[in-house]
């Protein structure tokens, strides 16, 4: 293949666009190939559908349509995550825009015969809510309120097809940045757009880029943080799986803007599919000449590498991540100097999150003003959230910044299952806090959430219903943080251990009121003195649950009985008419809570009783009753 030039890239784009337009004329079936739907069996659906077509003699194409294809044919695409994971495996049929849910491999015959060939809708595969059927994807309430920018191509494109990405304008932003803009102009455009880091901190991306641009160094690096370790978050995974080229293009633009020629994508080890898709995408971009030396004859060179994480949450922290790429223990270091001055191999480095990079091509193509028209003034653009936990529609949701929690959880998410009551939502994972009923109508953006004691974090939203004890949730997060503490600084290493011990004691109903004070005091110390962001935010779940759900803790430490964790309170009583006064119960009681005279009637002191049931087992006359209290 001859070397790619700007002219030949334009020809390539035009060809791809025509092929895409031509493909729109024949039906196509998009099968979701995100991790979720694959686990539900979507690969089998893909294979079955292909077989069905073969049996019928219907030509099948997997790439974009080309001129020599017959009129009667079908496109089958493995697409990125559609986001509606709860309803998977999902199958989407174009041009009708039909979406089928919970599809099984044996449904393929019917889908082909009825829907694809005659346009008939198969009712049992259609999503229904409150008695209304929604055959078309765009009408489904889950999608209707979303505004998909970053996820626009996820679920509508074949993630592995670079031609389709190009046909939809892909790499056009890179071309524009490379030939029509100076490095300063690119940084200014990103700054003007107000794009803030989507990984948690919310630092203005343009300022970061400009900072790295001003550095004088022989080598600079672009690093993409795909170490999405927050339990309950999978936005970045879905972007890497569903639209890998957008991340690559964003990184390339950052390269042009800062003068970096090497890029690294650090992906969690738990995301094997994302690694595969990125590898394929990089290989295809290299093959076309979009990555490599002297790209399109511009003199600009850019190379991309993938690093797989090895299972350490702390590597999501910038300086730990760069240490890990260097082949070292992933431990954060003291800052300053900041990563833009002293990053990977001590060189100036731009480190952004997956979603941040995926936002960049759109900003360069459509301009900062367009980006600012979405979202709020201080937090422009959209944010993807992973909506999970006790919610009807779990899945991936992209909404403009400033959307309220109520809209996300109730309108899009469909509310709480089984008629239970909403209790709280944990936002931002183990570094975030919980929000309650009173926050439901607060707009979600970087600043409002910060004021409420939470963070947007990477965007995990774990919904919890009334059956969730928040003291237990705090214990869960502390267990996670303690386990993942890298051990470098004392406040985090020792402090989280002590806090976990206290929380475990509390959950076991063995805590005291002083323990709550101790938790607060330890939280303050760790927050003020830990070395890195993860340590400094490790206590947020404890602090916010103590603030909003103190009663859950009080059940454990004052009543020594939590109605959620331990069920309804029970009281053991001896029935006087059945008791023969043998005294076996008193002998077996570990707490010496039973008293009485032999041949008299025995009595249980409920202040001392721990409800172990030893007396119940020992009584030969069945005289002991457990009475549920109101």
């Amino acid at each position: 293949m001859s070397k790619l030039t700007r002219e030949s890239f334009r020809v390539l784009t035009e060809d791809a666009k025509q092929a895409l337009a031509a493909s729109g004329k024949i039906p196509s079936v998009l099968i979701c190939a995100g991790t979720g739907c694959i686990a539900g069996g979507s690969m089998k659906i893909y294979e079955n559908l292909k077989k069905e077509c073969e049996a019928r003699g219907l030509p099948v194409y997997v790439g974009l349509k080309h001129d020599n294809e017959e009129e009667k044919s079908l496109h089958i695409k493995m697409s990125g995550c559609h986001g509606f994971c709860e309803m998977g495996p999902l199958v989407h049929i174009e041009p009708m825009g039909i979406m089928y849910i919970h599809v099984k491999p044996e449904d393929c015959h019917e889908i082909l015969e009825k829907t694809v060939l005659t346009g008939e809708i198969i009712e049992r595969l259609v999503y229904t809510r409150d008695g209304v059927a929604y055959p078309r994807q765009q009408d489904i309430p889950f999608y209707k309120k979303q505004h998909r920018v970053v996820l626009a191509n996820c679920g509508t494109s074949d993630a592995e097809d670079v031609q389709e990405y190009i046909a939809k304008g892909g790499y056009g932003a890179f071309e524009k940045a490379l030939f029509e803009m100076t490095d300063e102009e690119i940084c200014k455009e990103i700054t003007d757009s107000g794009l803030r880091g989507r990984g948690g901190g919310g630092f203005p991306a343009g300022r970061k880029w400009d900072g790295a641009r001003r550095q004088n160094a022989e080598q600079k690096y672009i690093v993409c943080n795909g170490d999405e370790g927050d339990p309950g978050a999978f936005m970045d995974r879905s972007i890497m799986e569903g639209n890998p080229h957008s991340v690559i293009e964003g990184m390339m633009i950052a390269g042009v803007a800062t003068g970096a020629t090497e890029g690294y994508i650090y992906v969690r080890a738990e995301y094997p599919l994302a690694v595969d898709r990125l590898r394929t995408a990089i290989a295809k971009a290299e093959e076309l000449g979009l990555l490599g030396e002297d790209i399109m004859g511009s003199g600009f060179s850019f190379h991309l590498h993938i690093n797989r994480g090895a299972g350490a949450f702390v590597c999501g922290e910038g300086s730990a991540l760069t240490a890990s790429i260097e082949g070292k223990r992933g431990m954060p270091r003291v800052k300053p100097p900041r990563t833009i001055e002293h990053g990977l191999w001590a060189m100036p480095t731009v480190l952004n999150n997956v979603e941040t990079f995926a936002n960049v091509p759109g900003i360069i193509t459509n301009g900062a003003a367009w980006y600012r028209s979405i979202g709020t003034e201080k937090s422009p653009g959209t944010k993807t959230f992973a909506l999970t936990g006790n919610v009807v529609n779990t899945g991936l949701v992209e909404v403009p910044m400033g959307t309220t929690l109520r809209e996300v959880i109730f309108d899009i998410g469909g509310g709480i299952p089984d008629g239970k009551k909403f209790k709280a939502v944990q936002i931002g994972g183990p570094s975030g806090g919980c929000l309650t009923e009173e926050h439901l109508d607060m707009p979600m953006d970087f600043d409002s959430l910060k004021r409420a004691g939470a963070i947007i974090g990477s965007g995990g939203l774990v919904v919890m219903d009334e059956d969730t004890c928040m003291a237990e949730v705090a214990r869960f997060f502390m267990h996670f943080t303690q386990n993942e503490s890298c051990g470098k600084c004392t406040p985090c290493r020792e402090g989280t251990k002590r806090m976990l011990e206290i929380l475990e004691r509390i959950v076991k109903n063995e805590g005291t009121l002083e323990d709550l004070d101790m938790l607060e005091s330890l939280s303050d110390t760790i927050t003020d003195t830990a070395l890195c962001g993860l340590g400094q935010t490790a206590c947020k779940p404890v602090m916010s649950t103590l603030r909003h759900f103190r009663e859950d803790y009080l059940h454990h430490v004052v009543d020594h009985h939590c109605p959620i964790c331990n069920g309804r309170k029970r009281r053991l009583e001896i029935q006087p008419d059945l008791c023969k006064g043998c005294g076996k119960c008193a002998k077996n009681c570990p707490m010496e809570a039973i008293s009485g005279q032999i041949r008299g009637v025995f009595h249980i002191d409920n202040e001392k009783c721990i409800h172990c049931g030893a007396c119940w087992g020992a009584c030969p006359f069945g005289a002991i009753d457990a009475i549920e209290e109101e």
Binding site: G88, P231, F234, A269, R308, A310, R329, M331
Partner: protein, 155 residues
């Protein structure tokens, strides 16, 4: 299976390759032996302690042989609130594991937890040898293990 030397020959003699090399050895041999770590140290011209420090830092590396099939029960937040702990407990009992032992007596299964597979929409989830099993409960999880036992017995 490749020898350690064969694996090493595919990587540059660069310290930055350390994690990738250890990952490859872990994948193929399912643990990192002392000999392997020494060989890697010599190849990269770094101290054995430097290799050991990295091998012990990351969760994915094991210094002891693991079972033939690796089960990971997700204990991310979403799975936790949809009751993943009872699944882990049931498998733990089923495999007769006690204390810190993670591998069953017959060397067939290793039981681990994982902090979020990112398959939260399918919670509670677990993986067997990397394959995701969605919407589990204790009975379904045990049934999956039984299936593997049957297959192994038929071999």
């Amino acid at each position: 299976m490749e020898t350690t030397q064969q694996i090493l020959s595919r990587f540059a003699q660069d310290r930055a390759q350390l994690i990738a090399i250890l990952q490859e050895i872990q994948t193929q041999k399912n643990y990192l032996s002392q000999e392997d770590m020494t060989t890697v140290a010599e190849y990269l011209d770094i101290s054995v302690s430097a290799v050991y420090s990295v091998a012990t830092f990351y969760e994915n590396f094991s210094l002891e042989p693991k079972g033939k099939h690796i089960i990971k029960v997700c204990d991310g937040t979403a799975c936790h609130v949809r009751k993943s702990q009872p699944i882990f407990d049931a498998l733990h009992d089923y495999l007769g594991l006690t204390g810190k032992r993670k591998t069953s007596e017959d060397g067939m299964f290793t039981l681990e937890t994982v902090a979020c597979l990112g398959a939260c929409g399918l919670a509670p989830a677990m993986t067997i040898d990397g394959e995701v099993h969605p919407k589990m409960n204790p009975d379904l999880a045990i049934a999956e293990l039984d299936k593997i036992r049957e297959k192994e017995a038929a071999k």
